[in-house]
Amino acid sequence: MSTLQAAAHGRIVQLSRIRKEIADLAKNKRRFIKDFRKIEKCKDIFQFKIIGDGVLYKNMIFTLTLDVNVEYPFKPPYLKFCHNVYHPNVDPVTCELCSPMLLQENWKPETTMEDVLLNLIVLLNEPDLSRPVNIDAAHDYIHNKVEFVKKSTELAKKWN
């Protein structure tokens, strides 16, 4: 298998996987996802809205972009909020979600976009404190829960 053939195969896999997974998302009709659409003609970047549940973010709406980069599914996609979120696993500068599932070392090629979105919902409700990127939010979550709830809900309401 030459390098050119390998690159072609990678692209074929990527396209077939993305097509299949979008079809699955449409078919499954998850109630917490809406307005899932492609925003770039030449790139596989999708935008969608998440309806939060649980205690903290009940019925709040978050807008995110999912960048399925060129080497998906052998490399993980990027998941990024379109606005600020006060959360231990969301970078306060870039608004990128840093989930253990999306780390290259934990990523498996058979993980689907739906798995990523489900993981996002879990993370919103239960932050993963083992690797925080927003230290202030993590500190508040551990030592000052009231302050954390106040700040996070305030910021979430701002975009609704």
Partner: protein, 386 residues
Amino acid sequence: MSDEISILIQDRKTGQRRNLTLNINITGNIEDLTKDVEKLTEIPSDELEVVFCGKKLSKSTIMRDLSLTPATQIMLLRPKFNSHNENGATTAKITTDSSILGSFYVWCKNCDDVKRGKLRVYCQKCSSTSVLVKSEPQNWSDVLKSKRIPAVCEECCTPGLFAEFKFKCLACNDPAAALTHVRGNWQMTECCVCDGKEKVIFDLGCNHITCQFCFRDYLLSQLERFGFVNQPPHGFTIFCPYPGCNRVVQDVHHFHIMGQTSYSEYQRKATERLIAVDDKGVTCPNVSCGQSFFWEPYDDDGRSQCPDCFFSFCRKCFERNCVCQSEDDLTRTTIDATTRRCPKCHVATERNGGCAHIHCTSCGMDWCFKCKTEWKEECQWDHWFN
């Protein structure tokens, strides 16, 4: 169609041994073969037993299924005592589907590709192919390990012998390494990554099927940041591509599908990691060298010499002229404060910022820099920010 094959006839009744070259019809069966031999040698065909790959073949076996090549030799055995009932019982007992002989896959160094392979049986002592095994191989261990299957060799007639199994490439007939995780996609199951239905698939025993192209891409993406983990006794290997599955590749020959360049890089990186983990592993500090090696503990004066560039240095401070004695208290304090060894694999770790939670990139363990133990909930509450 007709093929030419080499035949060895062992006539135990008359004590004769004969070598023949015979033109056979590849679509015929064993019975046709014995009848052709009868014309040439006048030995009754019902007295002949055909032995191949250490087994008596049933008379209905098709010649094509045996994957014959010009180098193949078939043994025809005429036993000393002939009993029709006994032969019938023996033949019925040993009858197996011989198409299994062609269902292996191997890595062929000559072809530089995954190829269909064939299994050959040899005498442990004299390497003859005139071997009769006493029981069937039941699993991979029976053919990959030695001294598993007792055998009788018609050449050296020594008691207590074992069969020796080898794999060869079907295309070029070179010896090749068996790939135990590669098999044919008999049920035409879809690849879990690309949903394609390929003929050749990887299955680590967990039934998570991956086609060889996706598995290759998976290996290459893991090699980029070296996602292989040391799993004794398999060495640096990789988990199943399916999330949550803990099966690993058990033979590093499978990684040859990455290509020669990538495989060499895998070997180099794995070796470097192994040396970094071992207490007796050291990397030459000479700027133009970078060689890694193990030092031996005899006659140890704390100095080592690189076998490549012959640079001699103190192993503790990595200087040609030792400066350990002149180390001041401040340096020692800094070293004690910023460096630890991973509690699981003992790789040296320097902390240059952040929290006390350490994720070891060598063995994947999460541990606490302060406690020097596995990361626990109390570490999370008490040691995170200091």
